[in-house]
């Protein structure tokens, strides 16, 4: 059983190729059934995002399977095979596992460590499950990939620093104020980025949002949207005293907040710090305000600079994340190879033993008046039968545990004895006793 990943991403292919190869969600079902109908392909998942298209497949033969997947991609989208192939990468075996782990954790993304990709991988997997294209191997692989991504997210700081303007603003506010709980923000003007920043601030605990706009009606509407308070544009300087965070985004041709005003405001508020986010171009807030103690001014370029610094920091964390990936690959392999056999054998034994017990009980109730000796003889005999029957299959399963074909044997054993159901029932029974 071999794992294959064939695909392309923003690094290997230009957007003209990527868009040709993309699979919208509506057609994935059909594409998956076509993919798994290929002779060499047993299981498959199609991951299609704006930055990458990948086919994750399980095949009995690596080379043939890989070629078939490439062929499939070219044919399905009617792209000449040679033209497509130069942009495709191929990973097999351990490299494929590693690649999927890295992709899920955002280590292969354009923005290092971005979290959206994990959701996209999850969606791709559920589509495959939904369309019956995912089997045992894919199931295990993807669940492991999700847990690795989660581990990387919690153990490294790869996703902790903001890489969008609005989040960068929130993060800076946190470095200045600590907790944003109970703070007041003021949105002057409007605009997508400014409104997004206001929204993130509110989500991070900011208690009150004042909204000022040249058109008062607009202010009222925006305030309604954010559950804030509208303020007359002319009046906004009077409210600065109670404002901790100012987001400015007006079309004013000159500065609307000047250092002398802010100086007074700061004094009036006992020098409690103020944070000015100036998203407007031309700028709304005089950069000289930043020279005042306890006032911090960031314009759009400064925020871009923050993002650049954060990306650098993420790149540093990526090294640690890669170590986790390598660690998890080896545990995953061990798990797949041996742990898989053991529960199968246990389930097999338990399922047969359950049959033995119920049949034995039936016989014993029919045969009244048996002595202790006879009863224990029957008990040992039935046990011996089970052991003899199981001896050869268990030996084979154990022997094949580390071979390439282990999945075949395990899957066969599971299917022949309906072990999935047995395990389900056992799980239910054991969790029942635990809670009791």
């Amino acid at each position: 059983m071999n794992l294959i990943i064939v695909g392309l991403n923003h690094k290997s292919a230009p957007v003209e190729i990527r868009e040709k190869l993309s699979f919208p969600a509506e057609i994935i079902g059909q594409a998956l059934s076509k993919l798994t109908s290929i002779f060499h392909i047993n299981e498959g998942v199609i991951l299609s995002t704006c930055n990458r298209v990948e086919v994750i497949a399980v095949s009995a033969e690596a080379q043939k399977g890989a070629w078939e997947v490439k062929r499939f991609l070219a044919d399905y989208h009617s792209i000449p095979f040679e033209e497509l192939e130069e942009h495709l990468y191929l990973y097999t075996g351990e490299d494929a596992v590693k690649h999927l782990f890295r992709v899920s954790a955002g280590l292969d993304s354009m923005v290092m460590g971005e979290p959206q990709i994990l959701g996209q991988v999850k969606d791709a997997f559920s589509l495959a499950v939904h369309h019956n294209a995912a089997g045992t191997v894919v199931n295990k692989l993807f669940h492991k990939a999700f847990s690795v991504a989660k581990r990387i997210r919690t153990e490294t700081k790869i996703g902790s620093s903001a890489v969008s303007i609005s989040y960068a603003a929130v993060e800076l506010a946190r470095k200045i104020f600590g907790d944003l709980e109970g703070k007041t923000a003021m949105l002057i003007g409007a605009g997508e980025m400014a409104e997004l920043a206001a929204k993130h601030l509110l989500n991070s605990g900011v208690r009150e949002l004042l909204v000022a706009n040249r058109t008062f009606e607009r202010a009222v509407n925006l305030a309604k949207e954010f559950n804030g308070t509208p303020v007359m544009f002319r009046e906004f300087p009077h409210f600065l005293k109670d404002t901790d965070i100012v987001i400015a985004s007006t079309g004013a041709p000159k500065f609307i907040v000047r250092p002398e005003d802010v100086g007074e405001v700061l004094q009036a508020r006992g020098n409690k710090p103020m944070f000015f986010i100036d998203i407007a171009v031309p700028r709304n807030i005089d950069p000289l305000v930043n020279n005042l103690d306890n006032a911090y001014v960031y314009d759009i370029d400064d925020l871009q600079g923050v993002i650049a610094a954060n990306l650098k920091e993420r790149a540093k964390e990526a090294g640690e994340a890669e170590t986790i990936v390598v660690e998890e690959i080896s545990t995953f392999y061990r798990w797949v190879k041996s742990l898989d056999v053991v529960p199968t054998i246990i389930a097999l034994r338990q399922s047969l033993d359950a049959i033995r017990k119920s049949e034995l009980d039936k016989v014993l109730t029919q045969l009244n008046g048996l002595g202790k000796k006879e009863k224990s003889a029957l008990e040992s005999m039935t046990k011996a039968i089970i052991n003899k029957v199981l001896h050869s299959p268990v030996t084979h399963l154990k022997k094949e545990a580390n071979s390439v074909e282990s999945d075949f044997y395990i899957a066969a054993a599971r299917k022949l004895f309906d072990l999935e159901e047995v395990e389900e029932e056992l799980k239910k029974a054991s969790s029942g006793t635990e809670s009791a």
Binding site: L172, R174, I176, F177, G178, D179, N271, A309, E320
Partner: protein, 258 residues
């Protein structure tokens, strides 16, 4: 020493694991340090704080105690990176001074000794931490003002927390210093029959006391916060340290305390 090096590594790499190692080294150092102080106590048969060597050792030990308390309260790994070098500095300076245990004249050996010394040194330990938070504040403020983020920015906590901790350390340190001076005066009354002798040590402790009084007053009434308070507490602690060393090395006054 080892801890300082490890923390420098932590600051460069931002690796959580190095921070943890550094912290554990501090904890280990703390255990040995405690044992050293205790053994001196038993050997000398009195509280080990009769000369500058012992007081500095005690100061280093107390700052570490405060670090451990603060760590469990705020989980501030990065504080260790600033504290370890300072504690190291205290210990190194202490080791340069005569360390032999000298018998104390009976007039001085009263129970006022441990009370006076502990209060004063604990006050100084709080001031030491206040100045560390001041330094951390100034660094973080510099990053935020210059709008060039990098390096320490990512590991340092928020300005608000640093300012708050600076204030708290000051507000604990000040009453302790006040009590330290008062108990010193009472001790002096017992030993020499006078509360006040206008010795350099005493004069400078009053000057330090005044400095911190001004700082706290400013904080509470005139909105001195952030950079002003941070700078002031760093300078005040600088004055405190310098005056102690000047008195000891240049004026040769034999007062045990910092």
């Amino acid at each position: 020493m080892v801890s300082t090096l490890v923390f420098i590594g932590y600051l460069i790499t931002h690796k959580e694991s190095l921070g943890t190692i550094g912290r554990n080294v501090i904890f280990a150092g703390f255990v040995f340090h405690t044992m050293t102080i205790l053994s001196r106590w038993f050997e000398g048969g009195r509280f080990p704080a009769t000369n500058l060597h012992e007081s500095l050792t005690l100061l280093a030990w107390l700052t570490v105690v405060l670090y451990i308390v603060l760590f469990y309260k705020f989980r501030l790994t990065v504080l260790g990176a600033f504290l370890a070098p300072l504690a190291l500095f205290f210990v190194v300076v202490a080791s340069l001074m005569p360390g032999e245990i000298v018998p104390l004249s009976p007039v001085l050996a009263t129970y006022w000794l441990p009370i006076h010394v502990t209060l004063a040194v604990l006050g100084n330990a709080f001031f030491a931490l206040a100045s560390l938070f001041g330094v951390m504040y100034l660094i973080q403020d510099h990053y935020l003002k210059s709008r060039k983020l990098g390096g320490l920015y990512f590991v340092l906590p928020s300005l608000d927390l640093l300012d708050e901790l600076n204030y708290r350390c000051l507000s604990y340190g000040f009453p302790l210093l006040t009590l330290g001076i008062m108990t010193g005066a009472i001790w002096s009354e017992y030993a020499f029959g006078t509360y006040w002798m206008w010795k350099h040590r005493q004069v400078w402790s009053i000057i330090t006391w005044l400095l911190y009084a001004i700082l706290l007053h400013g904080r509470m009434t005139s909105g001195w916060r952030g950079r002003v308070s941070a700078t002031f507490s760093v300078l005040a602690f600088g004055v405190l340290l310098c005056s102690s060393f000047i008195i000891y090395f240049l004026l040769g006054e034999g007062h045990g305390l910092l």
